[in-house]
Amino acid sequence: MTEKDFIQEKAMRNNKFRLSFSRKQLCLPYGVFLALFVVLPLLLIVFYSFTDKDGGFSFNNFIRFFSSATTLTTVIISVLIALATTIICILLAYPVAYILARSNLNRGGTLLLLFIMPMWINFVLRAMAMKDLLTIIGVFGFNNYVNVIIGMVYDYLPFMVLPLYTVLSKMDKSYVEASKDLGANAFHTFTKATLPLSMSGIASGVTMVFMPTMTCYVISDTFGNGLITIIGKLIDEQFTTFQNWNLGSAMAMVLLVIMLVSMWVTGAFKSEDTRGNNL
């Protein structure tokens, strides 16, 4: 190899190095992050849930979970609270999103901002403030379940308003016109056109409200006077109070399955061409 060839090759190699610095490589930091802080912990949870204290393989954690009346009641209560919260959120958020999307009230998005602004305030702080406020006006305290649901709805309402608003404001007005043109009155237009066409927004909203409410024990603790336990709290106790990481992991796994099922259910609504319209 002559010197000239050598220099040429070196230049080429430099050139090649610079060119191959592609977009894919820019994903590397996130890839590392993902592997270290998402995939690895997940694998650890799977490992812990299928082992006993000495590290031997066992199904005992799951058997304990499903044979205990206390844990099963907690799961049912969690699901019921999440369900009630989600339904109330839909009922409250739909009219709000509809009015914001359709009328001139929301010019420049100011009004929408008012609805989603609570999302920017620390939610522990928000929950405490809400509790105090409810106590002052005297609504608080007559039933712990109702209290928890009030707190959850208050906290998660913006997550329902936003996807619904997005879907409704993007919806082509000619669908409504077509429906009226074909003889539907305002009620039928809503039930037969607007509502089915906004299902993807509802599905997004449900995903963003139903799942977090099952685990958000800060709110159940604050609003339930410490008397309401949801599955998130149960897991926390296993890891902190009882130091039983194996049972805690098994509970987390059960929760994961519940979430996957609910995602699959809501995902069925999203599979139409409206995918991507939501958040």
Partner: protein
């Protein structure tokens, strides 16, 4: 086609009457301006005009999606102006079809039928007739949907999802969804706009066929003049919210009422002419015989269709000129002939070579003369460094902030828009408009922005209409004045700053 239209008799029954209909939007824009017309039962009527002419707004008011600001819409003599769309026996085929994506083809078409309620008479045990209002039976709906699908050639498509259909098929479903309800009137809002040319031509004929078969009134909106000419019984030509002409396709094509209609319907040459004698008109420096009778010395627009001009060898025709371009168009050649400074478009099956000296002939009944509509002076201009405007061979002071709403000028002469953008307006091309009452003239050559000679002075009853023509590019300033001047006076043109209306020709890059 023409014969068929001539022999086809339409009933005189007026299904739709529009009386002084006006629609002013919240921002003050008048989309439809005091229009009146009627539609006969079974007629195929087309609203034709460029975008923003008010044709779609008119259609939307007939459908009920938009409410008139004033005026009335009568359906069979009944005022329906404020009736909601679901109460009107009218169905619409939307521009982008608006098929419900969550329903399949069958359910889309059955949408209206499932909501419909009909009166059914029963006979009870004692033989008394009882009238009940009930929904259509399932088998009735199925039968109707299938009939509609057959009509649009989509049998067997019932279970298909609308998103899997092609544009043409979606179009057919949209038509089926509308006609299945047996409306009295079918409204079609540019329904073929999204289809390719070949498909569009096929659909035009199919729609025409469907109109014949169904016997219902069609009101069609389009900006495509050919589509309008092919399909309609009657065409309503609109511009700026005002009806320009109503007539059969033949009338509209052969006897356009004004230069706008002539220009919009088909290719045409439009000349400025002057009537020089009884049934004699002068344009392109020649006196032509014509068939229309106008007052002598009146300024007119002369319209000649490119296919009505005959080319002959030099010296054999009425006006000599030179061919400057020739393009083969399939059936004919489209040639441009230059006579003096005027370009004339000619269509002929015989090609004349570029550069050839030729002569043209026009038959008297191919010369269509119409009153000159002159409401304002329009010029092409540009903004200078000093934020003045150059047009009509002159330079005038103007208010450039009108180009952007709520904008202001900073000390350095840049325009600051409402959004805070800083724009340099130098050399921006603008359209300039000056009203007939906004121009003054002066003997003092330094007083005005442009200089020219008075070339015409016509007495209009209580004022004179003057034309000042500049030397360089022969730009005309037309205006009304009560003062008396003399023809050939050399004057300067004065236009007050606030009377110059400017419009940007295209968006400037920032």
């Amino acid at each position: 086609m023409t014969n068929e239209k001539m022999t086809k008799t339409l009933s005189d029954e007026k299904i739709i009457q529009i009386e002084n209909l006006t629609r002013r939007f919240e921002d003050g824009v008048v989309a439809v301006d005091d229009i009146s017309f009627y539609v006969r039962k079974g007629e195929f009527v087309t609203f034709l005009g460029p975008s923003g002419c008010g044709k779609t707004t008119t259609l939307r008011m007939i459908a009920g999606f938009d409410k008139p600001t004033s005026g009335r819409i009568l359906l069979n003599g009944e005022d329906i102006s404020y009736l909601p769309p679901n109460k009107r026996p009218i169905n619409t085929v939307f521009q982008r079809y608006a098929l419900f994506p969550h329903l399949n083809v069958y359910d889309n078409i059955a949408f209206g039928l499932k909501l419909k309620k009909v009166k059914v008479t029963y006979r009870d045990k004692d033989g008394n007739e009882i009238e009940k209002v009930e929904k259509l039976k399932k088998w009735e709906i199925t039968a109707k949907v299938q009939k509609a699908l057959k009509m649009v050639d989509l049998e067997g498509f019932e279970k298909r999802s609308v998103s899997t259909l092609s544009g043409g098929q979606q179009q057919r479903v949209a038509i089926a969804r509308a006609i299945v309800n047996e409306p009295k009137i079918l409204l079609l809002d540019e329904p073929l706009g999204a289809l390719d040319l070949k498909m569009r031509k096929d659909m035009q004929l199919e729609l025409k066929e469907m109109h014949k078969k169904l016997g219902i009134t069609f009101i069609y909106v389009t900006h495509d003049q050919e589509e309008a000419l092919t399909m309609s019984d009657t065409i309503v030509v609109m511009k700026d919210g005002v009806i320009q002409q109503i007539g059969t396709p033949t009338d509209i094509y052969n006897e356009p009422k004004n230069s706008f209609v002539a220009d919009f319907i088909g290719e045409s040459n439009i000349f400025s002419g002057t009537i020089v004698g009884k049934k004699k008109v002068r344009f392109i420096n020649h006196n032509f015989d014509c068939v229309d009778d106008f007052a002598v010395n009146e300024k007119v627009d002369v319209v000649v269709r490119p296919e009505d001009i005959v080319l002959v060898d030099k010296g054999q025709g009425q006006v000599d000129g030179k061919i400057i371009s020739s393009i083969f168009k399939g059936v004919h050649y489209e040639m441009v002939m230059l006579v003096g400074k005027t370009e004339i478009v000619i269509q002929d099956t015989v090609e004349r070579k570029v550069g050839e000296e030729v002569s043209l002939k026009i038959q008297p009944n191919d010369i269509h003369i119409m009153e000159k509509e002159f409401s304002s002076n329009k010029y092409d201009g540009y903004i200078t460094k000093r934020n003045t405007v150059c047009f009509g061979d002159g330079e005038f002071e103007c208010d450039v902030t009108q180009l952007y709403p709520n904008s202001i000028l900073d000390e350095e002469g840049y325009l600051i828009t409402e959004e805070g953008d800083r724009i340099d307006l130098t050399d921006v091309d603008v359209e300039v408009e000056v009203g007939l009452k906004d121009i003054e003239i002066s003997d003092d050559a330094d007083k005005g922005g442009a200089i020219g000679n008075i070339v015409s002075m016509i007495y209009k009853g209580d004022h004179y209409q003057l034309i000042v023509r500049t030397d360089e590019n022969e730009e005309d300033f037309v205006f009304d004045t009560e003062d008396t001047w003399n023809e050939n006076d050399r004057v300067s043109v004065i236009i007050p700053k606030e009377k110059i209306k400017l419009k940007i020709k295209q968006e400037i890059k920032r």
